[in-house]
């Protein structure tokens, strides 16, 4: 047939772009977990879009949390729609969410798309699309939500019925160039009014009549048939999300199909309505004339359809990971980190968070002290915690041992070490906690020969554990159980912190450096060659200064079996409940202080003076020992230097251990006076008892302690 008009170029439409708010995936996850389970029937959803509002950016079809039906919706019918929002024109869509990634890829995409296309075609045929034209932009979404890894695969399709032959365009120009000045003014005003009224703000398709007086009126599509216009100018308008100056947006495609199929319009003047800052912008908005030669009409089959969204230019689905914002563990980690950083920012700029998060702490004892120390360490950002204890949770424990609950104590009780680890993980899933169920070999508790090998194994295991950690807390309830760990720590120069409780008093102290500590740790002091001068390193460490003492340095008797011959009330280690949390907290604060001190384990002991400006370190003074009394509500800071007769850390003992290893340990365990003989304590006592001296039971020797009352 002869062409009566010269055909212009093909009209090229800018594809619709999708934008899914994270809240949508959040709600879908919640729906899947709580309501849908494995049900994968299609879910009706709503998308939202609005006219382009910026000259450089296209608007999107957006999905929000409210796009999905709420969980309270009994049968998951269409989501609640609130109409009248000018920024959220509601468009119906359908979601196919699969249960596996394989079924996601196996979906018959073309058939799904054709199904949506037939819905649009039918809405056009029946006139539904004229009543509620937003349904012309019906869309399809397929997805797979991996709720273990919190990744989401998804793919949008915006079905566009294809006109055959394709539509051509006679002209396309800014509206301000096609309209007269008065017409622009009138049309802008009419559009703004349309956009401001709740009844019409979200109606995205309409028609405009402009009369000879340049007066523009906007009407609903359904008024078209009754209002066959004799208007001077007629425009079919739609909200155009696209910003491009030479292309109309995607919604125009089905709009033209509607106009052609329903009303047989072949030459259509259209308005791509766009805004700027909330007002009609006739420079950005385009007016064009489309020529439709498609011969499809009512009664014909569904036209062909296209519309799968391109992902970075390719026809593949998208995949995003939301673990950072949906995975509770990740959220807990970032919340904890930011909390510590807040402390650093507000109060403590020199806080070294990476040291705290990488330090490996071994807690010997998982009782009242151990539980509290573990919690406090986590609060400071320490993540690597090992608890060692061979006991089980008893029914009275949960009251004082803050990691255990009643359940842990039932049926004989869980092992403390394992229950503690579980509890820590419940508090903060990202903690790297380990439990070791093991007894500590103790001097004064002789070992029958058949158990020797297993005791030696335990010794080795303890030695390995200490080697593998950076800081060791001695939190057991007997004196003798602290001996072996103290020795091993002195040998390897590990940061060691002891906490010990009396009935209403406590001791928290850090052990000094070991007698053979290496020079390489020090940066500020000049050091003598350690290997040659080892024999000189008696009470001094490699800095040449006096070593601070360990827990045993001020003892004049070796640790012995303290449990067997005590009376009943002495056997139960009863303490005032407030003591353990106080002592545990101080122990952890002491560790943090050491870790931030430039000399670390070699830091000199400081005492609290009433003059407040003696502290150089931001965290305050770094004491050696803190002794507190609940009956006085008081605390003292003291310094005690190492003793050359110390049964745990003196040079003699440590070298014997280095030379004889496990054999030495066994002797110490089995023979009551072995340690005293070795260190010369026996001699010391003999010579002391030869005087008639008032031997004070209190081990605070006033000669080498400085103490100040706080």
């Amino acid at each position: 047939m002869a062409e009566h008009t010269q055909k212009g170029p093909l009209l090229q439409f800018a594809p619709m772009q999708s934008l899914v708010d994270e809240g949508f995936w959040h709600r879908l996850s919640s729906l899947k977990l709580n309501k849908l389970g494995i049900d994968d029937s299609p879910i009706p959803i709503n998308g939202f879009y609005a006219p382009c509002s910026h000259s450089q950016i296209s608007n999107h079809l957006t999905l929000l949390a409210e796009s999905l039906p709420s969980e309270s919706n009994e049968s998951l019918l269409a989501p609640d729609t609130s109409r009248g929002n000018r920024n959220k024109c509601s468009v119906p869509g359908i979601l196919y969410n699969t249960n596996t990634v394989e079924s996601f890829h196996a979906l018959d995409k073309q058939n799904l798309l054709k199904a949506e296309a037939s819905k649009i075609w039918e809405d056009i045929q029946t006139g539904n699309a004229v009543e509620d034209p937003a349904i012309l932009s019906r869309f399809l979404l397929i997805s797979f939500a991996d709720l273990k890894k919190w990744t989401f695969h998804y793919w949008f399709a915006f079905p566009a019925l294809m006109l055959d032959p394709p539509v051509t365009v006679n002209y396309l120009k800014p509206a301000s160039q096609w309209l007269s000045k008065e017409e622009v003014e009138s049309l802008s005003a009419a559009c703004n009014e349309w956009r401001n009224s709740r009844l019409t703000a979200d109606v995205p398709f309409f028609f405009i009549t402009i009369d000879a007086n340049s007066c523009a009126t906007i009407k609903h599509l359904k008024d078209w048939e009754t209002c066959q216009s004799d208007a001077y100018k007629t425009l079919f308008g739609f909200y155009d999300p696209c910003h491009l100056p030479n292309n109309p947006g995607w919604p125009l495609r089905n709009f033209l199909t509607l106009l052609s199929a329903k009303w047989n319009l072949k030459r259509v003047q259209f308005l791509c309505y766009r805004e700027n800052r909330g007002f009609a912008d006739m420079d950005l908005s385009l007016v064009g004339e489309a020529l439709i030669t498609d011969s499809q009409g009512e009664g014909d089959g569904v036209p062909n359809v296209v519309g799968w969204e391109l992902n970075k230019g390719r026809k593949i689905p998208r995949r995003i990971s939301l673990s950072q914002s949906l995975d509770p563990t990740r959220l807990a980690i970032s919340a904890a980190d930011l909390n510590l950083k807040l402390m650093r920012w507000r109060a403590l700029p020199s806080l070294n968070l990476s040291t705290l998060s990488s330090v490996k702490c071994l807690l010997v004892g998982a009782g009242t002290l151990g539980c509290q120390v573990a919690r406090m360490l986590m609060a400071w950002g320490v993540r690597k915690i090992t608890l060692l204890d061979n006991g089980r949770v008893a029914m009275s424990n949960p009251l004082r041992q803050s990691l255990y609950t009643l359940d842990d104590s039932l049926n004989g009780g869980e092992f403390k070490a394992t229950a503690a680890v579980r509890s820590l993980q419940k508090i903060f899933p990202a903690v790297e906690a380990e439990g070791v169920v093991m007894a500590i070999p103790m001097p004064g508790h002789p070992v029958p020969s058949q158990e020797e090998e297993s005791v030696l194994d335990d010794c080795r295991r303890l030695s390995d554990l200490i080697d593998a950690h950076d800081a060791v807390f001695l939190l057991t309830d007997t004196r003798e159980s602290r001996w072996l760990p103290s020795l091993l720590c002195a040998n390897t120069n590990k940061i060691t912190i002891t906490a010990a409780l009396g009935f209403d008093s406590f001791l928290v102290m850090r052990h000094g450096a070991g007698p053979f500590s290496q020079a390489s740790n020090l940066s500020t002091e000049t050091v003598t060659s350690v290997c040659d001068d080892m024999h000189k390193l008696n009470v001094n460490d490699a800095t040449g200064k006096e070593r601070l003492g360990c827990y045993f340095c001020s003892d004049v008797v070796a640790p012995t079996d303290s449990t067997s011959n005590r009376t009943l009330d002495q056997q139960c280690t009863v303490t005032r409940p407030g003591l353990a949390p106080i002592a545990s907290s101080l122990a952890v604060e002491l560790l943090v202080g050491i870790l931030h001190h430039p000399q670390g384990i070699y830091a000199e002991g400081e005492i609290n003076l009433s003059v407040s400006d003696t502290t150089e370190q931001p965290l305050g003074i770094l004491p050696h020992q803190i002794r507190g009394s609940l009956s006085q509500f008081s605390q003292m800071t003291l310094i005690g230097h190492s003793s050359s007769s110390c049964t745990a850390c003196c040079q003699t003992v440590v070298s014997e251990y280095r030379n004889k290893g496990m054999e030495f340990i066994l002797q110490a365990i089995n023979h009551p006076t072995f340690l005293e003989d070795l260190t010369g304590l026996t001699e010391l006592m003999k010579s002391a008892s030869s005087f008639s001296m008032d031997w004070d039971e209190d081990v605070d020797d006033e000669d080498d302690d400085d103490c100040v009352e706080i």
Partner: protein
């Protein structure tokens, strides 16, 4: 607010797509000459959302924000900071007034970032103490938000147009 992003930065994500995901769609969909090709319309955009929310406990406005790529992938704080203008990054790290924390958005109940408000009261007082005319005019309240935003906006390189400052 949207920021264009160079398309090079996201190319490595493409290689992660497995063979299964290469759909057969290429052969199934009819060829469509009416669609604008991807080259001219392809925009890799990062979206930034800013909300101003009143904090009842600090009694000041708080700036909440989040950022995400156009495919919905949220941006991490480190990635957001990379996109800020150079001056802002300097400001963020040096200023004692600006600190970013992550918290639940009070109404949307999703994790958003916010500029910590504990310093706001202090520096707002400083701002207003040098503008006595503001307080005497009685127009303090109208100018409060604009003044507040002129400070926090700097963190993101956001500026207030002069017209806003002049209108009363």
């Amino acid at each position: 607010m949207s920021l264009f992003k160079s398309s090079e930065e996201k190319q490595d994500a493409g290689s992660l797509i497995s063979k299964e995901e290469r759909n057969m769609l290429e052969n199934e969909e009819p060829f469509d000459c009416a669609s604008l090709g991807p080259e001219s319309d392809y925009q890799e955009i990062n979206h930034y959302d800013f909300h101003v929310v009143y904090s009842a406990s600090y009694k000041v406005p708080v700036l909440y924000f989040r950022a995400y790529h156009c495919d919905g992938q949220p941006l991490l704080l480190s990635e957001i900071e990379k996109g800020l203008p150079g001056l802002s990054v300097k400001l963020l790290s040096e200023s004692k007034w600006t600190f970013i924390t992550q918290e639940e958005h009070p109404y949307l109940n999703r994790p958003w970032y916010k500029l910590h408000p504990c310093g706001t009261c202090e520096w707002m007082k400083l701002l207003f103490s040098t503008h006595k005319s503001l307080t005497t005019n009685g127009s303090t309240i109208e100018h409060y938000l604009i003044s507040w935003f002129s400070v926090v906006g700097q963190v993101f390189g956001l500026k207030i147009p002069l017209e806003m400052l002049n209108c009363s």
